[in-house]
């Protein structure tokens, strides 16, 4: 079972959180902080498994993480999951994101948290791995996106127009935002 999936950036800011067991919001934040603390002090060339999270899990649980550019993807899993399997799953997840957002970067996750959740929902359900085949996952996501578009139809036209206008400002705004380099994931070595 997967107990939680946490995605946060190099500064510990949560980007996507998915807990498959209920934790109140403040505890969730604490878990993120603790996990960030544990993960961030590790070099990139050490192993991707970590024990010793006190807030989440227990002796049976492990943190399995990968670090991509500015983001940490952390899975908290118990012993029924294969360690290397989960690493592969993280890879599948990130590659799927990359396909869906076309060269995904942190900003995509920041502005489209909901979409990331929908994608994640096709991989993992209720803490269990649902699908690992990327083509199947992407087909499902695309079909749902199509549905969404159909539904939006004419009624959403004004909203779309307005948001288009809003979007026009974005490049300008992005220049104002001081962010660390956001190289696309595709260029990275895993």
């Amino acid at each position: 079972m997967i107990k939680a999936i946490l995605v946060f950036n190099n500064h510990g800011k949560p980007r996507v959180l998915k807990f498959y067991q209920f934790y109140p919001e403040d505890l969730q934040q604490q878990i993120v902080r603790e996990t960030f603390h544990l993960v961030s002090k590790r070099d990139d060339n050490v192993c991707n498994f970590l024990e010793g999270g006190t807030l989440i899990g227990g002796s049976d649980f492990k943190l399995i993480y990968r670090h991509y550019a500015t983001l940490y993807f952390v899975f908290c899993v118990d012993s029924s999951e294969s360690e290397l399997g989960i690493l592969d799953l993280i890879q599948v997840f990130v590659e799927t994101l990359d396909k869906c957002f076309e060269n995904v970067c942190e900003l995509d996750l920041i502005f489209h948290m909901d979409k990331v959740h929908y994608i994640l929902g096709e991989l993992v359900m209720g803490g269990m791995v649902l699908e690992t085949n990327m083509t199947e996952i992407i087909t499902r996501i695309e079909e749902q996106a199509k549905l969404e578009k159909q539904e939006a139809g004419i009624s959403a036209a004004p909203a779309r127009a307005v948001s288009a206008v809003k979007e026009m400002n974005i490049p300008q705004k992005f220049k104002d935002i001081k962010l660390p380099d956001l190289p696309s994931i595709g260029n990275l070595k895993f």
Partner: protein
């Protein structure tokens, strides 16, 4: 109106969407919370709108805020509104928010039940609906509660059979969550879940594997019966995910079923050799370790592979390699020790995770020889380590490896104490308590080390201010607890007690935690008593006065302590000191009497001793002993003293040494104390529950401490130590190196001259390395009598997984259907929901019925047969019992059968399952593949075919009699295996058998009387003499001479044995020899014992725990003139040659004038034909087989036969040799059979001119020629028919 709406919409267009919100938050970095508060207000406004699009937008934003840590549960109702939208887009938003924030306590969750059900019900209508249902399932998986699980289980079950793989997959997966919340669903849903293991869609299959693996992880034994299925999946699946899960599952199953492990060795080792996927390789290794730890070749392979992993540059593989290595360590420490170099190397790795794993392994690496070296290395690491977590881990590992198995590897305790002392230098460790416990343990249990330990502790106390300084921050001050206690308790070893006394009275100490201070005060008193006595003896009044002054000066600081206990103890002590001073002024010396206070030796108390004291009969612990208002007496206080003085938080430090705190009752005069002590001693002696300390305690209780008897090393401490007061452990290393033999160690070293007496001979060292332990570790623990030392804790934790521990193979009871919500149905036929529910229910039941139907058909058939044969019943001899009342018995049996078909099926099903697995486990791989991994139906249908419906077509299952080896099995129609408790089934079977027999009886006129029989374990007895299977299907209509396959085995004046060999259809390596024992005398034969001289090839199955020369008891006695049948299974290896077995039957003949012990020898012939199975074969298949070229062995014989029709010969051949006629054309015929080890045998018979030519083909030459030899014998024995 419409205009207003449009206007509203337009305004709303300018609402923030999620992106705006995110952007806004990023732009308001300085006052983020204020900005978010504004946004939440806006969202609240938006939620008040009627427009769902606006609400959905608001909810979407809330989901984002939830991630940032804001509570959004107040919007739960709005979230549900959005979830109920008809639009997929909004719905998805709603479910996302719900899955993020709903939980068990969300009260509006019950509103979702019908909404979700509607999604499920409509799921098949269009692709939109498919995704609607998919979204609902995903959401539900996050917030399912037991109510939702109960109400929706049935609908999810229906979805499991949906036409859309996407939904099936999700439905299967969510079932696990349903089971967790609603365990009652597991049994009804399990058959379908099992079905899904073979779903055509790989995703669904993988989901089902996933769910079953999760279930099986917690309760593996219930899933053993699925092993064949998983085995098949494992050999066929190419999906690594599925493979990993299955292999993990096998890892959980194999410890429960050793035979499974054997079966897995081959495929697993193949995978290990061949796979390129590291994840798969790793899991295979794990399963081999968990499941087949006894197969040393595989383990060796694993260790090799693991070494490669550990040496890999990939840190992940290194980590996992070490992890798996630690599992091997548990079973094969030797194999791991070979890689010590590698593991020690990993200790230096830069990665903490890897170092921690390597530390785990160290535990198994140490020996007496290398312990010091390893610990030294760890100490060096500790100095370098920066993270406190890692340092703590190191510390506890050092203690663990040193103290493991009762200090097995510690040869020199002085070294160990030094190590412990060195460890106290570690800053900010949280293991102070651990070190303290070790110090106490060592000081108490290793008597010889006390002197040294005390001197070290005294130095620690001297420097206690160093440790006490930062007591708030770290737990290291705990060691002062141990130091104070050791110095107090063993104060006779102190070199300079006065100095220590003063050290313990420093004002700085008040900064220590209360429980340590109270130990200080307590031990001050002990020390004071000792000092007083000694100084009195020495008549050193000056020093004494000085001591008294110091005490009177310094004790008040403890009296002022905020800690109640410290205060109390200090008060008592101060009063005592004052009293002593007063008495002494009168010139009375009190030293001896005071010393009595702490006379005697303490044993450590086993940690669980108190809990394990049994409550004596008739003692009600809850009842008042005295009425509550009276003050409890001192005596009581002492007995119930556990926890009497313990304050919160200090318990753990005392648990093992409570005795000490009990002694703290203040202010009794020495006389009183003496009296009380005496009283207690008497009481203890008479109290059966009090531990009587043999030998050790007794002698010293009275105060005659024979300290001198304890071997003590006097240590010359004039040698300077590096750190003030702390001894270094390094010297022991050199010491260890230089000394040639542990024995002469002291003499060579200058700084350790002493009278250390070594107890020679007391050490029984059986270690492979001849390093001797220098000190004996006492293992005496105080514990109540009759307490087992097992660490078993009966914790009754409510585990949700325990609820899922249920037998999944037993068929469903009627009440076990999943709840269908009926109370919502209005009594209106048109109500869609009710109708739907009803049909679902039907659907489900149908599924169940199908299964039942099969069973019923069977019984129907039997009923028919019975009615046919009913008329003959009167004439038939009793088959059930040898008593006179056959008819009644019979009727009862019939009734029984009719009354409880249900139950019969239960048993049958059960046995079939167990049998299935059993068969699968015993069968060889080829058979498995051929049979579709233990597919019952294949088995069953084969039998049906074979029997051609002539006889009752029954698949008679074998029952696994005992756990493993002794599985005696049966032929289809021949006989039954029965467990004693399966009475009803037994009757039924007998019944049906009887009918069958009756028919055959007419043909075959053998009559036999039966005496009663017993069914013991491991031996079966048939209810009736049996006909070989081959007779039934013989299609001949010719009159045949009576044939019996029973051959004479042995005969003497009192007993006659005839036997028949039967095939076990389900085991390729077993045959059953059925022996009829007939008593020819008029006396009773008893204690029959059957024994056979095993050959290399053929061995009698004797059951567990018997050696291969033991006789097997025949489980019945033979009254005069009766006969009975017993069956013995033989394991066979090679079947290509005939076997002859010599054996003996011994028995006691009990006649009127006494009994005699007799025996009869016999020889059992097992010709090759006895290994043949009667199997159906179509002529086309026969031709194919002949043409396939597989049959390489050819042979032919000629037999002269006179005037015997071919049909006759064929009948005999098929009867005696289990051959089966494929075709008969004129004077030629083809016959076929297959051996239990799968050698096909094809024979072609041609009759011409009184000569029979038999051409045979098979796969094995010698087998074929032996068969042909058998054919020759049978043919030549054939005589002309009696017409």
């Amino acid at each position: 109106m419409a205009l207003k709406k449009v206007k509203g919409t337009l305004e709303r267009v300018l609402d923030k969407n999620l992106q705006d919100l995110v952007r806004g938050i990023r732009n308001h970095k300085e006052n983020e919370s204020k900005y978010i508060a504004e946004c939440i207000d806006e969202i609240k406004q938006e939620l008040k709108q009627d427009n769902l699009a606006i609400k959905a937008n608001a909810v979407n934003k809330l989901a984002y805020l939830q991630m940032l840590g804001y509570d959004i549960s107040w919007a739960a109702f709005n979230i549900i509104e959005v979830m109920s939208s008809t639009k997929f887009t909004f719905k998805r938003v709603g479910y996302l928010a719900a899955s993020q924030c709903f939980h068990d306590g969300t009260d509006v969750l019950m509103l979702t039940t019908n909404m979700i059900r509607k999604e499920f019900v409509n799921s098949d209508m269009s692709s939109v609906n498919t995704y609607d249902a998919g979204v609902a399932l995903s959401g539900l998986s996050c917030f399912i509660t037991s109510d939702l699980a109960r109400d929706l289980a049935n609908d999810i079950m229906t979805l499991m059979t949906s036409s859309k793989p996407y939904l099936r997959k999700k439905a299967v997966l969510i079932m696990y969550k349903v089971f967790l919340q609603f365990p009652e669903a597991l049994r009804p849903a399990f058959p379908r879940l099992k079905e899904k293991l073979e779903d055509p869609d790989p995703g669904v299959q993988s989901a089902a594997v996933n769910v079953i693996c999760e279930l099986a992880r917690k309760n593996p034994k219930n899933y053993l019966s699925l092993a064949p299925l998983f085995f098949k999946l494992m050999t066929t699946s190419t999906n690594n995910w599925v493979l990993i899960k299955i292999i993990k599952l096998f890892g959980a199953l194999t410890p429960l079923e050793p035979r499974l492990g054997k079966k897995l060795i081959e495929p697993l080792t193949n995978l290990i050799h061949s796979t390129s996927a590291m994840s798969l390789l790793y899991e295979c290794i794990n399963t081999v370790i968990a499941g087949i730890p006894n197969h040393s070749a595989s383990i060796q392979l694993c260790v090799q592979k693991l070494r490669i992993l550990i040496e890999d540059s990939d840190q992940n593989l290194k980590y996992l390699g070490l992890l798996a290595m630690s599992r091997i360590l548990a079973t094969h420490p030797k194999s791991v020790q070979g890689h010590k170099d590698l593991i020690l190397q990993c200790l230096d790795d830069k990665d903490e995770s890897i170092r921690l794993r390597a530390l785990d392994l160290l535990y198994g690496m140490v020996t007496k020889k290398n312990l010091m070296e390893i610990v030294k290395k760890l100490m060096v690491h500790m100095d370098k380590a920066e993270g406190s977590h890692y340092r703590d881990e190191l510390l506890s590992k050092i203690v663990q490896i040193c103290s493991q198995s009762n200090y097995q590897f510690v040869t020199n305790f002085e070294w160990y104490v030094s190590i412990l002392v060195e460890l106290t230098r570690m800053e900010s460790t949280r293991h102070g308590g651990l070190i303290a416990a070790q110090m106490l343990d060592v000081a108490i249990r290793v008597q010889a080390i006390r002197h040294f330990a005390v001197s070290q502790m005294a130095i620690l106390l001297e420097n206690s201010h160093l440790l006490a300084n930062n007591s708030q921050r770290n737990g290291i001050c705990e060691v002062l607890y141990a130091a104070a206690w050791i110095c107090g308790e063993f104060s006779e070893h102190l070199k300079n007690p006065q100095q220590t006394l003063e050290a313990m009275l420093r004002p700085k100490l008040t900064s220590l935690p209360g429980h340590i201070q109270s130990i200080y005060v307590q031990n001050l008193l002990k020390l004071y008593c000792k000092v007083l006595r000694r100084l009195e003896d020495e008549k050193d009044e000056d020093s004494l006065a000085q001591v008294h002054t110091t005490l009177q000066e310094k004790l008040p600081i403890f009296v002022q302590s905020g800690d109640l206990e410290v205060q109390e103890r200090a008060c008592s002590m101060l009063a005592l000191v004052k009293y002593v001073i007063k008495i002494r002024e009168k010139g009375v010396s009190v030293g001896d009497e005071l010393a009595q206070l702490y006379a005697g030796e303490l044993n450590p108390v086993a940690a669980k001793a108190q809990r394990k004291v049994p409550v004596p009969e008739g003692l009600d612990l809850d009842a008042w002993i005295n009425q509550p208002e009276s003050d409890s007496s001192e005596e009581e206080g002492e007995i119930m003293g556990v926890g009497f003085f313990s304050t919160v938080g200090s318990e753990e430090h005392r648990s093992s040494y409570q005795v000490e705190s009990m002694r703290n009752t203040p202010e009794p005069t020495p006389e009183e104390m003496d009296k009380r002590r005496e009283a207690r001693r008497v009481e203890q002696e008479h109290n059966p529950h009090y531990l009587k300390d043999e030998g050790r305690g007794k002698k010293s209780r009275k105060g005659n401490n024979d300290v001198s008897g304890i071997p003590v090393a006097a240590i010359d401490l004039s040698v300077p130590l590096h750190v003030p007061g702390l001894s270094s452990s390094d010297k022991y290393m050199q010491l260890d190196d230089t000394k040639p033999e542990g024995r002469s160690r002291k003499e060579g070293k200058g700084h350790k001259k002493g009278k250390k007496k070594r107890r020679k001979g007391k050490h029984s060292e059986s270690e492979e390395d001849d390093v001797e332990q220098l000190h004996a570790v006492s293992t005496v623990y105080d514990a109540p009598e009759g307490v087992d030392n097992s660490d078993k804790e009966d914790d009754d934790n409510k585990d949700p997984y325990k609820m899922l521990d249920m037998n999944l193979d037993a068929p469903l009871r009627d009440d076990e259907a999943l709840p269908v919500r009926t109370h919502r149905i209005v009594l209106d036929d048109g109500h869609p929901e009710g109708a739907k529910a009803a049909t679902e229910d039907k659907h489900k039941k149908k599924h169940k019925k199908d299964k039942d139907k099969k069973e019923k058909k069977k019984s129907k058939k039997e009923k028919k047969k019975r009615s046919k044969s009913e008329s003959h019943e009167e004439n038939g001899p009793s088959l059930l019992l040898a008593t006179g009342g056959e008819e009644g018995e019979e009727a009862a049996a019939v009734n029984n059968m009719e009354e409880m078909p249900e139950e019969n099926q239960v048993h049958e099903n059960n046995t079939e399952k167990g049998d299935d697995l059993d068969f699968w486990l015993s069968g060889n791989d080829a058979a498995v593949q051929k049979q579709g991994a233990g597919d019952v139906s294949a088995n069953g249908s084969a039998n049906v075919e074979e029997n051609g419906g002539a006889a009752a077509a029954r698949t008679v299952p074998t029952v696994k009699v005992s756990a493993a080896e002794v599985v005696l099995t049966t032929d289809e129609e021949d006989h039954m295996h029965m467990d004693a408790e399966e009475k009803p089934k037994k009757k039924k079977d007998k019944k049906s058998k009887k009918e069958k027999e009756k028919k055959e009886k007419k043909k075959k006129k053998s009559k036999e009387k039966r005496s009663e029989y017993i069914e013991p374990e491991g031996i079966t007895t048939p209810s009736k003499e049996n006909l070989p299977p081959s007779q039934v299907p013989t299609p001949m209509e010719v009159k045949l001479p009576p044939m019996s396959s029973y051959r004479l085995l042995a005969e003497n004046s009192s007993v006659k044995l005839t036997y028949e060999v039967r095939i076990n259809h389900q085991r390729s390596n077993q045959i059953v020899v059925s022996i009829v024992f007939a008593n020819l005398t008029s006396h009773t034969l008893k204690d029959l014992e059957f024994n056979v001289l095993d050959t290399l090839n053929t061995k009698l199955v004797r059951g567990m725990g018997h050696s291969n020369s033991d006789a097997v008891k025949v489980p019945f006695t033979l009254p005069a003139g009766t006969q009975n049948e017993g069956q013995f299974a033989f394991g066979v290896e090679e079947i290509t040659a005939p076997q002859k077995l010599r054996g003996t039957l011994t028995y006691i003949l009990k006649s009127a004038d006494g009994s005699s012990h007799e025996k009869v020898d016999f020889k059992i012939n097992l010709p090759c034909s006895s290994y043949l199975l009667t199997l159906p074969c179509k002529s086309e298949d026969f031709a194919d087989l002949l043409g396939s070229g597989d049959l390489t062995a050819k042979s032919s014989i000629n037999v002269a036969v006179e005037a015997v029709p071919l049909s006759h010969i064929l009948a005999r051949l098929s009867f005696f040799l289990h051959l089966r006629v494929v075709e008969q054309v004129g004077d030629s015929a083809s016959l076929f059979s297959r051996s239990i080890q799968d050698h096909p045998v094809c024979l072609l018979l041609k009759m011409s001119n009184g000569e029979l030519t038999v051409d045979g083909k098979s796969t094995d030459n010698s087998f074929l020629s032996n068969i042909l030899e058998d054919v020759r014998i049978v043919c030549s024995e054939t005589t002309a028919p009696v017409s």
